[in-house]
Symmetry: C2
Subunit: 326 residues, 2 copies
């Protein structure tokens, strides 16, 4: 079977590719494990070359139907759709966000529909679909009233995944991702970038300027656990999801102050002292509309994994990235 | 000021046009009443010619951006977007539904955005945005999990209206319309067509075959009241709606059996006896996912009108259409 990952050169795309190659199988249309023959990574820039013969990297515009038709071939039975413009950039450039976060999702679903064999599609949505006036713990039955263009575009994508699944065009699953931390690399234009920055930069000996107050709480998940969630979501039987293909992934709630305290416990006070708070109204205005605690009981009931300790997440990040923290 | 109605040749479009011409004014950008200089009706087929010099009818494809650019001119400060493919047809022809119910809405919002003066846009959405497992009385805060392509397309349109309003591209209002009854004319491909058919056909001396059981309950509003709601929604200050531009219109709950009983009271047992029940699984399957009672307290608090008596609705229909019922 062939598998496609959009956003395959990105941080999560690369991790997912690695996990799939190591695993070597995914549930086929009948639910039984099938061998992955080819794993195609699509992204704006080609993923770094890989030694594995099953891996193919293609650079191109994920909103281009011709490209999607080429990569989602008749043997493609699974698509992980991770490509996206992050929240800050989608807010700054409305048209680009619509094109990549919505039009590409629609084009991808259309190509899958045209294939006619009902591929499994795992769509990376976001908890930013929620917004506005929210209860302290957000039930899954809460209306989506996103307060960002990113959240709007993801919510529209979810509606499509649900309708395409209901009609039998695809076998879709839309996962509402928490903020993912700790991400390696450089800060990005995601409005949640600080949730990795306050750990990553200090560990690299660099000051981190946090644009939201220390009391700001975040609904969080680690990179390792979110990859496990992607695999779990793919392999579970669509019937277990019923008519509602959208799932809140089981994150946990942590404040920035608690994150910095964990950093101090794991890497010492000198490292933690490198975090400086300098609120930025542009970031704060949207971040404070995001839910900080959600009812993920449906995903937990289906056996999705979660994280519990931010200290453990920092330690795992340090191990993965080979940072000592000094 | 110029005003545009899409779907202007349709039943509600024609009624709205008549009301606007009689009224002669609408709230301008500053909230004060302004004289309507031109009222353009756009539809697939031109509206019947009108004696009033302010009325312009244009036939064309409402999903064609070039047409929209022509009709939504720099003097257009208000757009009523009523054009739609009804639920049954959108279910039968997915691509047509996407094109008219979603793409046209997006194209219309884009033209309004390009105008740069933030026109008021009243979008006719539908209670079909709700679906799946619903509480007995649906609160406005309930998640939209539509179980039809029509409902999905309307829900996506609402998300756009909200985001375009939040960003200041338009001053939008999305109204979740109940089933409208009694509609004159012929049965249409709306899955709710029976809600008018069980009254209209018997009054015309014709048998009506109802595809859902008599116990089926419907969330309903009369044509006259929905037109009042359009005007009310247009003229209220956008600030009164806040960040959430979607509103449940205040319908009322009535069963088909109660509708037929009202018909018997108003027009006699011979007329009511012309209703025959012959359940059609294709219609029932989707109709039973629609909410039958919703919490419209927000609209009622804003002063939106409602109906209370189905007998009165039948009498008004008979008066408007000049049917005696025999």
């Amino acid at each position: 079977m062939n598998v496609v990952i959009t956003g395959g050169a990105g941080f999560l795309g690369q991790r997912l590719a690695k996990a799939l190659i190591e695993r070597g199988t995914l549930a086929g249309p009948d639910g039984h494990p099938r061998t992955i023959d080819r794993l195609t990574l699509v992204d704006v820039a080609a993923a770094p070359p890989a030694a594995d013969a099953r891996l193919v990297s293609i650079a191109g515009d994920v909103a281009d139907p011709a490209l999607l038709e080429r990569v989602i071939d008749p043997e493609t039975s699974s698509v992980f759709h991770l490509a996206a413009i992050v929240s800050g950039q989608a807010e700054a450039d409305f048209d680009l966000g619509m094109r990549v976060n919505f039009d590409a999702t629609r084009a991808l679903l259309e190509v899958c529909r045209a294939r006619g064999h009902r591929p499994r599609v795992v769509f990376a949505s976001s908890c930013a679909v929620y917004g506005g006036e929210l209860p302290p713990v957000v039930p899954a039955s809460t209306a989506l009233t996103p307060q960002s263009s990113y959240g709007t575009q993801k919510a529209m994508g979810e509606l499509l995944v649900n309708d395409y699944s209901r009609r039998g065009f695809v076998d879709g699953r839309a996962l509402r991702l928490p903020t993912i931390s700790v991400r390696p690399g450089k800060p990005n234009a995601a409005l949640s970038s600080f949730a990795s920055g306050v750990i990553r930069e200090p560990l690299n000996g660099v000051e981190s300027v946090c644009p939201v107050p220390a009391a700001t709480r975040v609904w969080l998940l680690s990179p390792a656990t979110v990859i496990d969630c992607f695999l779990k979501a793919h392999d579970l039987d669509g019937g277990a999801l019923g008519a509602n293909r959208s799932l809140i992934l089981p994150g946990f709630t942590v404040s920035v102050a608690e994150m910095v305290a964990a950093l101090e416990r794991v890497a010492g006070p000198e490292v933690a002292a490198r975090v400086r708070f300098e609120p930025d109204e542009r970031v704060e205005r949207i971040v404070r509309t995001w839910p900080v605690a959600l009812d993920a009981s449906r995903a937990l009931g289906l056996g999705f994994p979660t994280d519990t300790s931010f200290d453990a997440i920092i330690r795992r990040y340090m191990g993965d990235e080979g940072v000592r923290g000094s």
